[in-house]
């Protein structure tokens, strides 16, 4: 899967969780929490949606890998391929 497609799938999930936020100005290199009103429950939602929609398991020790959009794509791209 292309990196851009992976990014799109992650953005779809985040936009369904951060319902009141504008994602169009997101800086992919910066932490999501610095740019969006996301708390720990939201990150659990992201993990759950990855599991539900794409059958991707994210173990707890890997949660820091979801910090920014770039790190999400880097971490998740190989899992989307599988």
């Amino acid at each position: 899967m292309q990196t851009s497609e992976v990014r799109e799938k992650i953005a779809d999930i985040i936009s369904d969780i951060a319902l009141d936020e504008d994602l169009s100005t997101l800086d992919d290199s910066q932490p999501l929490r610095d740019q969006l009103d996301l708390d720990s429950m939201d990150f659990l939602d992201i993990v759950m949606e990855l599991k539900k929609r794409h059958k991707i398991e994210v173990p707890q020790e890997d949660y820091p890998r979801l910090a920014s959009m770039d790190s999400c794509v880097e971490y998740l791209a190989p899992k989307f391929v599988q």
Binding site: I17, M41, L44, K51
Partner: protein
């Protein structure tokens, strides 16, 4: 001497309006708030649904995270503060209490998650981490705390269908104890989002149904049909009289009496003797006699046992009072469960201003076992109103009664 406690704001959503004025107008115009909806596993049922704007006071993300009951509470709490003309940013949030009566909580969320569990082939790994915070019993009140930043005592009161009055009573008591300076108090219900409550009333032979949804429940009529389940909420801002007067607040009325007791006799069947005692003890606390009461609002759910037992209780206390009129609200809006007591009180509260007593709805053939003098059943009655007694009773035999008096400077 105990503090005098007054109502200074009303935040309401019910099947006949999203504020007290619209609700009042629709009651006096004999409108029905009941319609058919489709619910899971049961199909078409009659129900009372609210159409308030969830986004008015709550971000979409928090609505998705929370519950319908929480959303109703948040709407009512914010509207009550606006109605009371309170500049909330200036209020010490530590001195605010929220007391929300509920019939039950968590059924809706659990049913939804069980439904999803089956869709997910019983994979409990996909069970929502939101389950616990959504289903804890204090959720409908706690969501208000989060929404408004209230750091005082915030909790629910579980009291079946007596709960709306009970929230009000808890608010009054906390103000009298000087634990808080401002209360948001009443009741809410999200029950229409669960099929279980409809199925259970159906199994009990008590679910109101009719091809014309407005005729699905006819409390006190011989063809009463049964209960229509409704959602709704009503929270009042309560203050000590001296505080309300100091800020020049509009005062809807003063809570002059209340009582709560229990039947200790049956899971579901009411007990007229205990209901009589509840009303009499509330009047004793208010230091008034029965003939001073202008309106008695019945609980009257539209079940034979409930209607007849309550009518017996009310007749015993009030049939000798020529100036006391009796009405009931559920023929208009169905049964708002944990919100019923507070919503139905709001339906009568403006009678202090317009001096009308709204009618019951859908009584064409009064059940001959109902013997109530001055039952208002064919249009509203013009009468100067000074005191309202509001009954709400619930399963497991809990009875609640509040008495509100018009405030005269």
């Amino acid at each position: 001497m105990k503090h005098r406690i007054v109502i200074t704001g009303v935040g309401l959503t019910c099947p006949l309006g999203n504020n007290i004025q619209d609700f009042r107008k629709n009651l006096l115009n004999d409108e029905s708030g009941i319609r058919h909806i489709d619910i899971r596993h049961m199909g078409k049922v009659a129900a009372g649904i609210c159409d308030f704007d969830e986004k008015k006071h709550q971000p979409r993300k928090m609505r998705k995270r929370g519950t319908r009951a929480g959303s109703i509470s948040i709407y009512c709490a914010n509207e009550a503060l606006l109605d009371a003309n309170i500049e909330f940013s200036m209020v010490d949030k530590d001195r605010v209490g929220v007391f929300v009566g509920i019939t039950e909580h968590g059924n809706v969320e659990t049913e939804n998650e069980i439904h999803e569990l089956y869709e997910n082939e019983l994979d409990t790994g996909l069970w929502s981490h939101h389950h616990n915070p959504r289903t804890v019993a204090n959720a409908p009140a706690g969501e208000v705390s989060l929404n408004l930043g209230i750091t005082g005592p915030v909790y629910t009161i579980g009291a079946a269908c007596a709960a709306g009055n009970m929230g009000l009573i808890q608010g009054l008591q906390m103000l009298q104890l000087e634990e808080i300076d401002l209360a948001l108090a009443g009741g809410v219900s999200e029950s229409t989002d669960t099929f279980g409550i409809f199925a259970a009333f159906n199994a009990q032979g008590a679910l109101g149904q009719h091809d014309d949804p407005s005729l699905s429940t006819r409390p006190l009529d011989i063809n009463r049909n049964g209960i229509v389940v409704s959602e709704g909420g009503c929270l009042y801002t309560l203050e000590r009289l001296e505080d309300a007067q100091k800020r020049g607040a509009k005062i809807y009325g003063e809570i002059i009496g209340h009582h709560v007791n229990s039947d200790a006799s049956d899971f579901v069947l009411p007990n007229a003797q205990r209901q009589t005692e509840c009303m009499r003890k509330a009047m004793r606390k208010a230091n008034i006699s029965a003939n001073e009461i202008d309106i008695v609002n019945l609980h009257a759910t539209g079940t034979k046992a409930g209607d007849i037992q309550e009518a017996k209780a009310v007749a015993e206390v009030f049939n000798s009072c020529p100036e006391t009129y009796i009405n009931a609200t559920k023929g208009f809006i169905g049964h708002c469960m944990g919100a019923a007591g507070s919503v139905e009180l709001a339906g009568n509260l403006l009678s202090f201003e317009d001096n009308k007593i709204h009618s019951c709805k859908n009584i064409d053939n009064l059940d001959p076992e109902i013997n109530l003098n001055n039952l208002v059943q064919n249009g509203s009655v013009d009468k100067k109103v000074e005191i309202i007694l509001n009954n709400s009773f619930g399963m497991l035999g809990i009875n609640s009664c509040v008495i509100i008096k018009k405030f005269n400077n």
